[in-house]
C-alpha cells in the first residue's frame, strides 16, 4: 500500500512534467491544426540553454529557489525565441499548404534541431547542474514526499494556472480563441492571425522551457536526443485528453504519468515505451477525439 502511494506521488510528478510539454502541443494544434513535432526539440534546446548558462555564470554553485527561477527564465526566453524563429522560417511559408506538407516540415525541423544539436552540443550526455537540493520534506510511514516532486508540482500548476488565466481572462487569450475558431473571420474583426500564431508559439515554447528545467532537475542527464521520447509521450497525452483542449492535455498527461509509473513498478520497464502508444490506440479507436475532445462531423 505504501509502495502504491509512493508510485502515485511519482506518477503525478512525472505527469505534471508531461503536462507542461503536452500543453505546447495542444496549443499549437488548437490554433494551426498541425502537430508541431519540433516542440520536443525546442524543449531539448531549453535544457541545454539552462545548462550552459548555469555553467557559464557559475550559478549552479548555489542551489536554491533563486537558481531555479533564474534558470527557468533563461530557458523560457531561449525556447520562446527558438519557437518564434521556427514559426517564422519554417511554418509561416506553409500557412496555406496541404496538411501533409506541414507535418513533414515539422518532422524536418525536428530532425534538424536534433542533429544540429549533436553538432553544436556534442552527442554525449551531459549532467545537468544541481538546481536545488533534493530533500525529504516529510514522510508518513515509508512514503516520502521529496522536495523535487513538490517543486515540480508547484511550478507546473503555477504555469498551467497562468496559461488558463492568459487564455480565458485576457484580450490576447480571447484573440487566440478567436483565431482557433476561425482565422479568417477573426482577421475580419481586427485580429492579426499571424501575430496571434507567433504569440502561441512563444507561450507554448516557454512552457516547454519550464518543462526542460524541471526534467533536468529531476533526471539530470541531458543529450540532444532527449526530446524524442518525452515529446512523443507528451503528444500522446495531448491526444489522449483531446487535442486542442487545455484541460484535456493536463488530464491526459496525468493519466500517462501515472500509468507509466505503474507499468514500470508492477510489470516490466521494457514495456514503458510501448504503453503510451497502446493507450493511444485504444483511446483513438473507441473515442477518436480523445477523452475531452468534441467529435466534429465533416461537412461538405
Amino acid at each position: 500500500m505504501q509502495d502504491f502511494i509512493q508510485h502515485i506521488i511519482n506518477g503525478i510528478s512525472l505527469g505534471s512534467i508531461y503536462a507542461l510539454i503536452a500543453l505546447g502541443y495542444t496549443m499549437v494544434y488548437g490554433i494551426l491544426k498541425m502537430i508541431n513535432f519540433a516542440h520536443s526539440d525546442v524543449y531539448m534546446v531549453g535544457a541545454f540553454a539552462a545548462y550552459y548558462v548555469a555553467r557559464f555564470f557559475g550559478i549552479d554553485a548555489s542551489p536554491g529557489i533563486a537558481t531555479l527561477i533564474t534558470l527557468l527564465v533563461v530557458s523560457m526566453v531561449c525556447c520562446s525565441l527558438l519557437g518564434l524563429a521556427i514559426e517564422r522560417l519554417a511554418y509561416r511559408p506553409l500557412r496555406n499548404a496541404p496538411k501533409l506538407n506541414v507535418l513533414i516540415t515539422a518532422i524536418g525541423v525536428s530532425l534538424f534541431l536534433e542533429y544540429a544539436g549533436q553538432v553544436v552540443f556534442g552527442a554525449d550526455p551531459k549532467v545537468f547542474p544541481e538546481v536545488m537540493k533534493d530533500m525529504v520534506l516529510f514522510n508518513i510511514g515509508d512514503v516520502e514526499l521529496k522536495s523535487f516532486d513538490v517543486t515540480v508540482l508547484i511550478v507546473s500548476v503555477l504555469a498551467m494556472l497562468g496559461l488558463q488565466f492568459l487564455i480565458f481572462k485576457t484580450k490576447l487569450g480571447r484573440a487566440m480563441r478567436a483565431v482557433s475558431a476561425n482565422a479568417s473571420v477573426a482577421s475580419l474583426l481586427g485580429v492579426n492571425p499571424d501575430r496571434i500564431i507567433a504569440f502561441t508559439f512563444i507561450v507554448g515554447s516557454s512552457l516547454a522551457g519550464v518543462g526542460s528545467v524541471l526534467v533536468g532537475m529531476k533526471y539530470p542527464k541531458i543529450d540532444p536526443l532527449m526530446g524524442m521520447m518525452i515529446g512523443l509521450k507528451a503528444f500522446v497525452a495531448a491526444v489522449l485528453g483531446g487535442i486542442g483542449n487545455v484541460g484535456g492535455a493536463v488530464l491526459g498527461a496525468l493519466i500517462m504519468g501515472l500509468s507509466e509509473e505503474m507499468v514500470v513498478a508492477y510489470l516490466s520497464s521494457t514495456y514503458r515505451d510501448a504503453l503510451a502508444f497502446g493507450i493511444l490506440i485504444v483511446i483513438l479507436i473507441f473515442k477518436p477525439a480523445g477523452l475531452l475532445g468534441k467529435y466534429t462531423v465533416e461537412k461538405v
Binding site: 502537430i35 499548404a97 496541404p98 553538432v119 512523443l232 483513438l284
Partner: protein, 323 residues
Amino acid sequence: MKFIKSPLIAIAVLSVLGLVFDFGINAYFQLILLFALVNCLLSMSLNLVNGYTGQFSLGHAGFMAIGAYFSAYANTHWDLLPPPLQAVEFFIWAGCAGLVAAGAGFLVGLPSLRLKGDYLAIVTLGFGEIIRVALLNMDFLGGPRGYSNIPGFSSFLFSFIFASLWLVICFFTIWRVMHSTYGRGFLSVREDEIAAEAMGINTTRMKVRAFVLSSFFAGVAGSLFSHFTNFISPSSFTFLQSVNAVIMVVLGGMGSMTGSVVAAIFITVLPEALRPLQELTGVDLRMVIYSLSLVLVMILRPKGLFGDLEITDVWRKYVRRSA
C-alpha cells in the same frame, strides 16, 4: 524509356547492370547499391499508401522489421529445399515474410485507417514502436542483442539480381494496380474522401487494401535488408527508419513511382556522398544537411521533385520539347 513498360526487359537490363557493377565497383559501393535497391522497394511500397491513397503512415519500419525477422528466422531454422536451390528458398521466404507483414498490415490497418491525417500518422507511428518494443522482448529472436548470422548470398551479382527481381515485381504490381479500377479508387480516396464515399466507394476497404499491399512489399524489403546485412536488431527499425521512407516518398513526389525510385537512390547515396565533407569539417553534418534540405523542399517545391508525374512525363514535358 520504353523498358519500364515491360517487366522482362527491365529484369534483363537490371541483370546486365548488375554484371557491370559486379566488376566495375568495389565492395563498399556495391553494398550502398544494394541498400539503394532495398530503399527503392521501401519507398515504392510506401508511395502506395502515402502518395496514391493520401494516408499518412509513419510506421513503415515496423512492417519492415516483421519481414526482416521472419525471413531471418525462417532461413536459419526451416529448410525447404536442398542446398543447391537455396536461392529459390530465399525467394520463397521473402515472399512469406511479405505475407506475414501483410497480415500485420491488415490487423493494424483495419482499426486505425478509420482515422485521418495527423491521427493516423501518430497511430501508425505507435504501431511501429509497439512492434519494435515487442521484438526487444522476444528472446528467441535475440531481443536487444539482435539476430546475427543470417544467411546471405555468396556473391554481389546474386544479391543484386535477387533484389532487382523483387524490385521489378513490386514496380509492376503497383503500376498495374494503379492503372486499374482499384487504382482509381485509391486516387479518389486521396483526392476527396467524402466525394469518393458518395460515389459508392468503400473508402475504408480501399485504404486497408492499399495498406496491406504496401506492407507486403515493406516486409519483402525487410527480408532483403536482413540478407544483405546478415545482422538485424530492433534498433535498425526505429522511428527514424520510418521517417526515412517518408522522406523518400515526399522528395520524389507524392504519387510518382519513378520519382520514389529516384529519391530512394538519391537519399541512400547522399549521406555517403557527404562523407568527405564530414572528414573535412570533423563533425557529422550529414543529417543536418539532410533535414534542412527536407524543409527547403517542402517550402520551395511542396509537391516533391516530380510532383505526381512519372519520369517519362517529365522527359516528355521538359526535355523533348526543348530539343
